[in-house]
């Protein structure tokens, strides 16, 4: 039916590009099972044993067997702390940005009001400027604001306002809102206003109409928006890097800090877990989208 479908060139290129995309990830995961602690060359898998047996930089046996480095990871306090921070930030920012973003989508799609154009444009800005510019802006704002407030209120020691979980979460909410709004707006755009008008004609007020008619129809859009916000937050490096402070390290920041110093199979174990989580999340998103038709 179409001229290029069987072209050997397209096929070959496709195979090579998929290979390019996956070879690094496969090797990354393979090295999470490496018996060598220095993780320079692959020294085989780790056999099961009652205790951890080390021989130089080689692990000869471990109660966790090939999953030795995953067990070590679970014992690593810094990693667990960073994982907790990452999830706290992601859940909080997803919840808030989904609510706020959905409200914005309703406003932009169903209402006329002052500042509408301004709102629409401001929602596009985070998408078209480099992330570092937004990160730097927020950093400049918080450092100036906090130093002003600290001196005005005479705060000292631990009471001083500083960068931390709060500033990271607020920034994540700010960069997620535009994406949630876009996704929900697309969904609202797709369906007919007449359902809502029918409900109103039948005597339902706006509140009832929203919860009984509008909300069930946009729910898949709201859920995709929430999943997107969650993934963006989990994944964010740049904005977190500039808005985080002591005690508020997230996983990507932790990994980055580690990579500048040492390379250990623990990072590979963490990466392998991360890829598996992404795998499941993408699967969930695709299911959701397919159900939306």
């Amino acid at each position: 039916m179409n001229p290029h479908q069987r072209s050997w060139f397209v096929r070959l290129a496709t195979i090579l590009v998929y290979f390019f995309l996956y070879a690094p990830i496969v090797i990354l995961i393979l090295f999470a099972f490496n018996a060598s602690r220095t993780n320079i060359t692959f020294q085989g898998f780790i056999p099961y044993g009652e205790r951890v047996v080390m021989e130089g930089s080689l692990v000869r046996a471990s109660p966790c067997g090939p999953f030795h480095w995953f067990c070590e990871l679970a014992k690593n306090r810094e990693v667990m702390h960073a994982a907790r921070n990452t999830l706290t930030i992601a859940f909080t920012s997803t919840l808030i940005s989904t609510i706020i973003g959905t409200m914005a989508a309703l406003a932009l799609q169903r209402y006329e009001f002052r500042l509408k154009t301004f709102s629409q444009i401001s929602l596009y800005i985070p998408i078209v400027i480099p992330e570092i510019v937004m990160g730097i802006g927020i950093l400049v704002l918080f450092t100036q604001l906090f130093s002003l407030l600290n001196s005005l209120l005479g705060l000292s020691g631990d009471a001083r306002l500083s960068l931390g979980l709060g500033t990271v979460t607020a920034s994540h909410i700010a960069f997620s809102i535009p994406f949630v709004t876009l996704v929900v707006q697309a969904r609202l755009h797709g369906f007919d206003k007449s359902y809502e008008e029918a409900a109103m004609d039948l005597g339902a007020n706006e509140w009832v109409t929203f919860w009984r008619v509008t909300f069930p129809m946009i729910l898949p859009g709201v859920l995709s928006g929430a999943l997107l916000a969650f993934t963006l937050s989990l994944d964010d490096f740049v904005i977190t890097f500039f808005t985080t402070g002591p005690g508020a390290t997230t996983l990507p920041i932790y990994v980055y800090g580690l990579l500048r110093r040492i390379i250990t199979p623990q990072v590979n174990a963490l990466s392998a877990l991360w890829v598996s989580v992404v795998f499941l999340a993408v699967l969930a998103i695709q299911r959701l989208e397919n159900r939306q038709g």
Binding site: L28, M103, A107, G137, L141, Q144, I177, P252
Partner: protein, 307 residues
């Protein structure tokens, strides 16, 4: 009062958008304005900001340095211009390479049977959503002196009986280019796929009926109709490459300094927020100008939103 709210739709709309406006103004517009104000300031000896109005930071980016080592009042130092130029050429090269790699794959997915398409797209999304830093790490492992690539090359050389020295691939400009291409490839595949998938297949039959060969059909039908996807992908790739500092930091070491690294170092090492702010704004203006002219020339599809 509630009744007034119930009847006033503009007010309802405004109340719905209000929280968004609070965040967008508070954490986007105010910060950008403040960055502009700070960029006209000067660094204080303790790393703070002295608010003045001077264009020194921008002049410094253009190469006019004060406090020269030679003792002159003003001297020319092209360091920052070189960094800006390096960032632009790298972003350009990355974008071109990414288009070349993404196009055939996007084409293959768009023309695959419907039941395969979801799986093929899935295979693009997984690397795309795997954390940025983790993907850079994967390339650190591959490109190291003792990494897999050198190992494979060494093995091949031994088989052929050629003497082999492990190549120094990590911490070179080439490593940064490969890393950037790897990071941003999926962001080009998706929009091109979206625009290719929309093409009506009967256009191909028409082209074939009119005697066009496959190559001609590609140039006259497929390529023009997929341009919105290429344009959207270019923006999704070019803009972040211009601002990224992680790839160059981890794969380029101290060898490859881009605008992103310059900005990051001003804030974290040099503690010169005014100069860093100026660099950040120059970066923003450069990307906005490129985006603006590029979209005006080629049009703007909805692909960018879909991706």
């Amino acid at each position: 009062m509630l009744r007034a709210l119930r009847e006033n739709r503009p007010l309802q709309g405004f109340l719905l958008i209000l929280p968004t406006l609070v965040f967008m103004v508070g954490l986007l517009i105010v910060p950008l304005t403040l960055t502009l104000v700070v960029s006209f300031g000067r660094r204080s000896p303790d790393g703070g900001v002295i608010f003045t109005f001077s264009l020194d930071n921008y002049l410094r980016l253009l190469g006019y340095e004060r406090n020269c080592p030679s003792g002159e009042a003003v001297c020319f130092n092209p360091l920052y211009l070189q960094i800006l130029w390096r960032s632009i050429t790298l972003a350009f090269n990355t974008t071109v390479l990414v288009i070349v790699l993404a196009y055939p794959l996007a084409y293959y997915i768009a023309r695959a049977p419907a039941r395969w398409r979801t799986a093929l797209l899935f295979m693009v999304l997984v690397p795309m959503w795997t954390n940025f830093v983790i993907r850079v790490y994967a390339w650190m492992m591959l490109l190291r002196k003792e990494g897999i690539i050198n190992l494979a090359l060494g093995w091949m050389a031994r088989q052929l009986g050629i003497p082999f020295q492990p190549l120094e691939m990590l911490y070179t400009p080439g490593a940064v280019l490969v890393g950037m291409v790897y990071e941003f490839l999926p962001f080009m595949i998706l929009p091109i796929y979206t625009s290719l998938e929309k093409i009506d297949l009967s256009l191909y039959e028409a082209a074939a009926d009119l005697g066009a060969n496959p190559w001609r059909t590609f140039l006259r039908v497929t390529l023009p109709l997929s341009m919105p996807g290429v344009v959207a992908g270019t923006i999704l790739v070019f803009v972040p490459v211009m601002g990224t500092f992680v790839v160059s930091d981890l794969l380029g070491g101290r060898q490859v300094v881009l605008v992103g690294n310059l900005i990051q170092r001003q804030f974290l090492d040099a503690r010169d927020a005014p100069f860093g702010s100026a660099a950040s704004l120059v970066l923003m203006v450069m990307t906005l100008v490129v985006t603006y002219f590029y979209t005006r020339k080629f049009g703007f599809g909805e692909e960018i939103v879909k991706a």
